[in-house]
Symmetry: C2
Subunit: 324 residues, 2 copies
């Protein structure tokens, strides 16, 4: 099957233009009628780096590629608009695989109200998917960057941490006796990450001043916020909302569950800083979209990230380096 035929096959699967999308796949460009301001992010996942092609399904690759990209929109508090996907396809990744990968991305697009608006397919010695996502907000002030945190702000995180790191061990074959539901919930953190879009909008609307998604690891991502905002972020590790099952997996591989929750990435939760007086409102707003919100620390004058161990021991600035 030629590149043209494959593009035609992919194209036939995509929904027709509608709403903001005036012209979709099949022309030189997609055409959209944006409103307000646009938030745009680009990202790529590569076989052997971000996923292992031979231990995951094409569907899961497509899901993960789009979900991870949309997580950047969540971190701005933007409404998802369009997504574009470029596939680099090696010779032994066939048409059916490509369609399954696209199907996975389409499922995430459907679940999040995103229009898969365009893309391209090219030959490549290694499988990769490059994603572009565009989200919208009424104005720039409605979006939350990384640089707005102030001393005195509380530091909050959505959902639960450590699950993605634990899932990696399970997918690699580590055997841990877990209730089936808990086991599946952990694995889903790698196979079907969920971008926290609704929680991101709720946080933006309830006064978050700085926000990022936890992709590199809580410590590293907190450090990005601290750097951009010019504050120090103090995190109480005892407060981290560790996902059920993480402790058991950590014990099985001789790791520290806090290191999994803080030193490893891929949880795609949102880490935000907001004025202390807004915390209750934010918890309520995030709760109303079915997501927990936990206060895990505060911003103080200074720089970097300071971690406090559950024992009360101060692990120092950027102490997450020791945990990772």
């Amino acid at each position: 099957m030629s590149e043209f035929d494959l593009i035609a096959a992919l194209r036939a699967r995509l929904p027709p233009p509608g709403g903001r999308l005036l012209l979709g796949v099949g022309d030189d460009t997609a055409v959209t009628a944006p409103e307000g301001v646009a938030a745009t992010s680009v990202d790529a996942i590569v076989d052997g780096v971000h996923f292992q092609r031979h231990s995951t399904t094409p569907d899961a690759i497509g899901r993960k590629a789009l979900a991870v990209a949309l997580s950047d929109l969540a971190a701005m508090g933007a409404d998802p608009g369009e997504a574009y996907i470029v596939l680099g396809v090696p010779p032994d990744f066939d048409e059916e695989d490509c369609l399954a990968l696209l199907g996975g991305a389409q499922a995430v697009a459907d679940a999040t109200g995103t229009s898969l608006a365009g893309g391209d397919v090219t030959r490549s010695p290694v499988l990769f998917a490059a994603l572009t996502v565009v989200g919208y907000a009424p104005d720039a002030e409605s979006l939350v960057g990384r640089g707005g945190a102030r001393p005195g702000d509380l530091v909050v995180v959505t959902g639960e941490l450590g699950g993605a790191a634990a899932a990696l061990r399970l997918l690699e074959g580590t055997e841990v006796r877990l209730a089936e539901k808990r086991d599946l919930a952990l694995r889903a953190r790698q196979l079907e990450p969920r971008p926290r879009l609704a929680a991101g909008r709720a946080l933006a609307a309830s006064g978050a001043r700085a926000m990022i998604d936890v992709s590199d690891g809580l410590g590293a991502d907190a450090n990005h916020l601290a750097e951009e905002s010019g504050v120090r972020i103090e995190i109480d590790l005892a407060e981290l909302p560790i996902q059920p099952g993480v402790a058991e997996v950590a014990a099985a591989v001789g790791a520290d569950p806090l290191a999994m929750a803080c030193g490893e990435g891929d949880d795609y939760e949102l880490l935000a800083c907001l004025p202390a007086e807004g915390a209750d409102r934010a918890r309520e707003a995030v709760g109303s979209v079915g997501c927990a919100l936990t206060v895990i620390g505060r911003c103080v004058p200074g720089e970097g990230v300071r971690l406090r161990a559950p024992s009360g021991r101060d692990l120092g600035v950027r102490g997450f380096d020791h945990l990772a």
Copy 2:
């Protein structure tokens, strides 16, 4: 050098936000204030497929990646706005190489009035660059898709053809005695392709009804226009504006210069269909931005592409298959 350090180094090279770009590299997303309608295209070039890393410079890779992407905006008649770049970087492509590649892209951005607004760097076993470009127009009607050609329309092409195919032979080491200026002009078709942005806008403004950039080859791209418009496109090969030097290179490798001009891609000229009465106005408008415009055929009822050889011999529908 870590991914973070490299991103920081790249970021330091980018110009600060301004104009439509409200927030640039360094946050979860870029933020723009679009006006009118947006035309978005995604594309990737991969080592070993679209370029040979060891026979080209990082600067040239960066130039080509962005120029080729912008060519899709030219083909819509859109004004270039922002570009985003994701680099997949193998271990032996070092920081200096990355900066040189980005420098090449920045040079094309500067030359075309494009804002390099964001990007990402990821490890990859193979070097690739995935580009997203966003252009703008006042409204959808100002843009030219592929589906508007009507029987009776003239078929026109900008600039000169065959140069990219000939340049490939020169870069592969074919020795041809050419005047230095002519030799350099040919090689530049591969090393520094120029997106026909001004010519695209001029064609759009002077009544082009269907347009595409010549990336797959004149015959194949004419076929895309024919399919989307529901017409047959007839091309007189004798009329093709063959770039000086192509005939000499073709002779040296025993190829047909018309096959180079019609059956091979990468010339990034624009192929457009427009009403016969608008041809003079279009030639004048395109000429005023320093570009030639040549009538090479016409649209008739039917389907596919019909080529007429210089001898007058009819090569049949999709005759370009025989040439390629």
